[in-house]
Subunit: 167 residues, 2 copies
Amino acid sequence: MPDPSHAVDPVQLGAYFALVEVSALLQHGIEQQLREDGDLTFVRFQVLMRLDQTATGSHRMTDLADAIVYSRSGLTYQVGLLEKAGLVTRAPSPDDERGVAVTITDAGRALIARVLPGHEEVVSDLLFEPLSRDDARTLAGLLTPVRDHMRAAPPRSAAPRRRSPRS
Amino acid sequence: MPDPSHAVDPVQLGAYFALVEVSALLQHGIEQQLREDGDLTFVRFQVLMRLDQTATGSHRMTDLADAIVYSRSGLTYQVGLLEKAGLVTRAPSPDDERGVAVTITDAGRALIARVLPGHEEVVSDLLFEPLSRDDARTLAGLLTPVRDHMRAAPPRSAAPRRRSPRS
DNA sequence: TATTGTTATACTCTATAACTATA
DNA sequence: TATAGTTATAGAGTATAACAATA
């Protein structure tokens, strides 16, 4: 008989499908708002957001790539666009000369400030309208450990260990 | 003062961030498995899955596009690839001559059968490992109404009604 | 040697709008 | 007139691997 630890029961399947659909629909709504309000894609918004949230306004490329779950070369491309648009600057990392510190500019902060209200509105209307405060707390309580678990097993390294040794 | 109905409190923000991260990490893991086990992308897998799940093995283009949250022209492209690969066929809809019925082939069903075990394993290991059965039920119970709510307000039509009339 | 980040090439996918055909 | 689906063109994004520089 098949290993039951990998079977996905109907309830799990429903949760999985709902998750996939919800994130696709949410992403759609978000991208539309960001495009209209600030000519931003979701990826570039996330980069700016991460930078905006730090006191220094800086992050290293690798940290950013990891944070937003993006390839390095892809991030180089996206940050290149942000730099061209004057929303971030790049400079060698002070502590590690190999690294690059990406820093948000005033224009970048201004852009975030401009799109944030609309962003919150979309998230609020789309995601949280049908959820009570307690629901939101419960949702966070469920998804946070999942995220931590996924982060603990980085998808990039750790070659897919399919077909675990039958114990 | 700003309309509080659109404010996103810290708990909601945490839930939102966790959701975005979880779906990105999950999608990554899934795409990797599908590529390795069946040379499939997630989009094309979803199309095949939807078809495989019906008795007839058929769906109309529009229904498919709506189900997987995809643009019509994009779906035409993806289904074109699936057809080239012999995984689906296309034929005029019997009832509505404008429509196109996409049907999964035996090869398509075989491919799904081949990748499904690995797919379930990834979903199980990544998403459900840290969740109890009750947790999964709770998660489904939260996300299902959210999905229904998002579906009720299609992102395509219904122009973004920002700045609701102050009531 | 390992890591950081960039680059180059080729490729995949997407966006937009125009277009055909049927309802 | 409205809807279903396709197409064309152009552009955006991605993957892969090779590369330079620092640790």
